[in-house]
C-alpha cells in the first residue's frame, strides 16, 4: 500500500459521495436526546453527513431558556414546558426533576458529556440541526426561541428527501 498513491485506487473502493445518516428526534427525554446526539456525533466522527430533524418534544433540544407563546394556551405551554436542553428529564425515574439531577451526576462521574456539551460537539462536527416548522407553529415557538446554530426550519418532505439519501435513518 503506497502512501503516495493519488486518490485511493487499489487501496479502498472509491466512494464519491460521503455516507449520510438521518435521525428524527421526536422525544425530549434526557436519555433519548442523549442517545440521538451520541449516535449523531459517532456518525459524524466517522465522516458521515448527519441530519437531525427535531420535532414535537424533540424541540426542547434546540430551545433557548426563554418564555414563549402568543395565545393563552401557548403561554401556558411555554410556562409548563419551561427551560432548555438542560431541563430534559429521563423517560423513567424522573421524580419531578430528581431523576435528572441524579442522572446528570452519574453521567459526570463516568465522564459522559452532558446534553449541552454533546450538542456543542455535534455542531462542531458539522451535524446539521433542523427544526420542524409545524411543531414550532403548534407550540408557538418562534425561530428566536431556538438556538442560533440551528441549520434551518423545515418540513417533513425535507426530512424524507434526506432520509431517502441516507444509508441509515432513525426515529427516536
Amino acid at each position: 500500500m503506497s502512501e503516495a498513491t493519488v486518490g485511493n485506487a487499489g487501496v479502498v473502493p472509491a466512494e464519491e459521495k460521503p455516507d449520510k445518516a438521518s435521525i428524527v428526534v421526536m422525544s425530549g427525554d434526557l436519555d433519548k436526546v442523549m442517545g440521538s446526539f451520541i449516535i449523531a456525533t459517532a456518525a459524524a466522527a466517522a465522516g458521515m453527513e448527519v441530519t437531525m430533524f427535531f420535532t414535537f418534544w424533540g424541540l426542547r433540544a434546540l430551545k433557548k431558556n426563554v418564555p414563549t407563546g402568543r395565545t393563552f394556551f401557548g403561554r401556558l405551554l411555554g410556562l409548563m414546558y419551561g427551560g432548555d436542553i438542560t431541563r430534559c428529564n429521563p423517560s423513567k425515574f424522573s421524580f419531578c426533576g430528581l431523576g435528572r439531577w441524579m442522572f446528570n451526576r452519574m453521567m459526570k462521574r463516568h465522564n459522559v458529556p452532558d446534553l449541552a456539551e454533546l450538542r456543542r460537539m455535534a455542531i462542531d462536527l458539522g451535524v446539521k440541526l433542523y427544526a420542524c416548522q409545524m411543531s414550532m407553529d403548534v407550540m408557538e415557538f418562534p425561530r428566536e426561541a431556538l438556538i442560533d446554530e440551528l441549520t434551518d426550519v423545515v418540513g417533513a418532505a425535507f426530512f424524507v428527501s434526506e432520509a431517502a439519501e441516507s444509508s441509515f435513518s432513525l426515529f427516536i
Binding site: 451520541i38 466522527a45 466517522a46 465522516g47 458529556p113
Partner: protein
Amino acid sequence: MSDEFKVDLKLDLKGLACPLPVVRVSKAIKDIPLGGVIEAVATDPGALADFPAWAKTSGNEILKTERSGAELKFYIKRVK
C-alpha cells in the same frame, strides 16, 4: 512499543466515555499527514469494538491494538 511504527501524534483518551474517544481521534487525524499514525490510549472498554468500527466507516486503518490492564492502546493509520 511505539518503535514498531513511526507515531506522528499521541492521544491520551483515558477516562473518556463513548463517543468521546472516537470523536477526539476523528478530529486529531486531520492534523496528521496521510499515512501518518496516531497512538491513542483509552480506558473505555467499548473502544475495543468502536475503534475498528469507526475505522471501517471512516476509511482509516487500525494497525495494532495492545491491551495492558485497563489501558487499551490503538495505533491508527490515516488512510483518508
